[in-house]
Symmetry: C2
């Protein structure tokens, strides 16, 4: 079956509905429609977000033959030598926010940053493109939840974010500060200009 895609549309290869919702709202600002495709991709064990995002995007494109973005993100805590880094999802599942707070007990330097890389792949002939976003902030002393957010959001407070953790913000608020929204905006600017 073939069909024509009207306007601008891209597919986000992810199994994380929260990431998809964040992306949907950011890309809507640019009038880019986004579909979610769940593709079993294998993530390579690498400490490079770019490498992981590119591999995922290319694998998803190969299987779907659709213009695809994939994302990889990491949380890098200065006092823990960058831990959990690109392994954030695994570490979250195993030890959660409580584990990170325990590692950070009596640690004065609370500096941390989230990084996101969006990779875009829509052709086997062209190299995939990467767009990076970053947000700096601090690890809080306790979890602070609201109605939104996921993963380490309840323990991450972005600089100049009004003292709220990502989890205490609405998706729209989080999108003003977040690494992912920043990477998505760079992608969107490029994507809008490309035709």
């Amino acid at each position: 079956m073939s069909f024509q895609l009207k306007g601008r549309v891209v597919f986000f290869a992810t199994n994380n509905i929260n990431k998809f919702n964040e992306a949907r709202k950011v890309l809507a600002e640019y009038k880019i429609a986004v579909g979610m495709i769940r593709v079993k991709t294998f993530e390579i064990q690498s400490e490079s977000l770019e490498e992981i995002a590119v591999t995922s995007a290319c694998a998803a494109f190969k299987k779907s033959n659709l213009p695809v973005i994939a994302e990889d993100a990491g949380l890098f805590i200065e006092a823990l030598n960058g831990f959990p880094g690109p392994y954030a999802a695994y570490v979250y599942k195993a030890i959660g926010n409580k584990g990170i707070l325990k590692l950070m007990e009596n640690v004065e330097n609370r500096k941390a940053k989230f990084q996101s890389v969006i990779a875009y792949c829509a052709s086997e002939r062209k190299l995939p493109l990467c767009f990076k976003g970053e947000v700096v902030g601090v690890i809080t002393k306790e979890e602070r939840r609201g109605n939104a957010g996921f993963g380490f959001d309840p323990i991450f407070e972005p600089l100049n974010g009004g003292g709220k953790t990502f989890a205490e913000m609405t998706v729209e608020e989080k999108n003003k500060y977040s690494h992912r929204a920043s990477a998505l905006r760079k992608f969107a600017e490029w994507y809008k200009g490309k035709r």
Copy 2:
């Protein structure tokens, strides 16, 4: 250049000299000589030790055209939902033994196990073979170092190991108990029988 390998010889693709030394001593018991080859292999990000070991062994074989073993190991702590698991090397580099001990503060259940998978690859036509080893034990309350060991050895005390951590043992002693030695022995038994 081609040359004939006399007797039994296999190449261990690793960048860890400690692992190589453990392997050398175990395989010597079986009169199998082992060379070390440092090959830049990429490890896939997977929670399966088998998958990682197989991918590494196949990549090393492809580059060297030599009969190759590769290993992947993990430390699985029960109270931490299996953390750090297959990411042991990365986690060790970031938070070390002190990080694990902090996560285990006031945790009564100290049960943990090391697992090792040795993958053997010597042909593109044959599927690589895997050999597994495991050792159960406990996470100690503090680091106990001796003259040997590496990684998490100073905080892991195997069951029936005379109350010593792996780091308080000689390589020969550690090889009586360790996950890696156990996997290597299974490999050696098979390798000796195969011709």
